[in-house]
């Protein structure tokens, strides 16, 4: 019984850890990318935009394949990572976080970009004429004024990261206690007729994901009012 209980909770705990890490990574990366896309007339910004949002429409297997090509053990990035850390990306916790981050990133970027674009550009100009450089202007004026939209994106990203299945399976496998997240554990439990094990995880994940969406919706509406 103890063994069953441990197996039931371990994937949930791993899922929340992974989703939290994915939100941190996609938050830093996503807000930076959103700022670039919102303001800079970058050559190729449309292509960058397309690459960032592609995970929302690509089949998980296709996306997983690309991740394996780019971050696999034989790829330059994969080899460099392994040389630096002594561990590979695939079939490890890093791979699980990477898969969740890829799912969360488009949502963070889209919501943050919309929020940053809604900041009155005159305020940015005012900050510059008051002696603030571009970074200080961004951190002290734009981010605070876009914070609700950014937070909404992070909540959506968290909800998305909670539920990743296909890319996680392709990149990190389904190793109980190491890379098995809640979604994978639910699938395994249903496949092996352990519905009781699945139900608990389903309820917890549903409550957390719907809660995150509720908060995201509240924040989005509030940012429109501001």
């Amino acid at each position: 019984m103890c063994y069953r209980t441990a197996l039931t909770f371990a994937p949930l705990i791993l899922t929340f850890e992974v989703a939290t890490l994915a939100v941190v990574v996609s938050g830093v990366l996503g807000v930076g990318l959103a700022a670039l896309l919102a303001r800079r007339k970058l050559p190729g910004s449309d292509v960058l935009d397309g690459i960032i949002t592609a995970p929302m429409v690509l089949p998980p297997t296709v996306l997983g394949y690309y991740v394996l090509v780019v971050f696999g053990r034989t790829s330059p990035l994969g080899r460099a990572f392994e040389a630096l850390t002594g561990t590979s990306i695939v079939f490890t916790l890093t791979g699980v976080v990477l898969a969740a981050t890829i799912g969360a990133l488009p949502l963070v970027v889209m919501s943050s970009r919309a929020a940053l674009e809604s900041v009155d550009p005159t305020l940015r100009s005012a900050a510059r004429t008051l002696g603030a450089g571009p970074l200080r202007t961004f951190l002290t004026v734009e981010v605070p004024l876009a914070s609700r939209g950014i937070m909404a994106g992070l909540m959506l990203g968290f909800a998305r990261a909670l539920g990743d299945f296909g890319v996680t399976l392709m990149v990190a496998g389904d190793i109980p206690g190491r890379t098995q997240t809640g979604s994978l554990a639910i699938y395994d439990a249903i496949q092996s007729n352990r519905d009781d094990d699945a139900i608990g995880m389903i309820v917890v994940m549903t409550i957390v994901a719907v809660g995150a969406l509720f908060v995201a919706g509240k924040l989005t509406r509030a940012s429109r009012v501001l």
Binding site: T122, L123, S125, L130, G131, P144, L145
Partner: protein
């Protein structure tokens, strides 16, 4: 020319509009006067470094802020210029005190920054709103906080873009007197943009008249701006 006069020679084209102006701004208030669409606000934006001219030279004394021949283009934050926008552009997430503090150099200790901000708010007669957010200000309070923010950072050039246009005449005149006093105290070049002749004559020492992106007259305000405006 005074060592701290602003010299403006610039050309630029924005969305089909061509601006080609040359004038000097000595310490004191120079009114940039002209109808809507004559290029007044674009000129201020170029002086503040927010719009890049296609060619020309802008310098404060001997210091170039922009020089197309020398490839000099000092960014807005390094020009020591305060610009009061027509919309005022007060930061909505900061209190009046924090708004005013924002422009005071980071090298100044935090306590001194706060004291200077409070003193400037008092000077502008809005000390009572120091702890309040801009969405609670009246029109006049917002205007005074914006002016306090502009003057608190000890600018070397002050620019006001139709800053009083939304106010009634009585308030405009009161604020105009405060602005004149501050500019005189700082002894810096100040440019006030307006399309109102009465305001131009009340505020300015000198005037530059603009029409269709070109200077049509410049000199003493009473010579350039005829009476009988709004």
């Amino acid at each position: 020319m005074s060592s701290d006069a602003l010299s403006v020679r610039l050309r630029l084209a924005v969305a089909g509009f061509r601006l080609d102006v040359a004038f000097d701004v000595p310490p004191g208030i120079t009114v940039l006067f002209g109808p809507s669409g004559s290029g007044k606000s674009t000129t201020l934006a170029a002086l503040a470094g927010l719009v890049r001219p296609s060619e020309g030279r802008i310098s404060l004394g001997e210091t170039p802020w922009f020089d197309s021949a020398l490839h000099v283009d000092v960014p807005p934050e390094a020009r020591d210029v305060s610009l009061v926008f027509q919309s005022l552009a007060l930061f909505p997430h900061l209190t009046a005190e924090r708004n005013v503090e924002y422009g005071i150099a980071r090298a100044v200790p935090a306590v001194e920054r706060r004291d200077r901000a409070r003193a400037m708010l008092e000077r502008m007669r809005v000390g009572h709103v120091a702890g309040r957010l801009p969405n609670t200000f009246s029109g006049g309070e917002a205007q005074r906080v914006a002016l306090a923010r502009a003057f608190a950072c000890a600018p070397r050039v002050v620019l006001l873009d139709e800053a009083f246009s939304a106010l009634d005449r009585e308030l405009r005149e009161a604020l105009g007197a405060d602005v004149r006093a501050m500019v005189s105290e700082l002894s810096v070049p100040a440019i006030v943009v307006t399309h109102l002749a009465r305001e131009a004559r009340a505020l300015g020492d000198r005037a530059v008249s603009l029409r269709d992106g070109r200077v049509t007259a410049s000199g003493a305000v009473h010579d350039v701006v005829s009476d009988g405006g709004a």
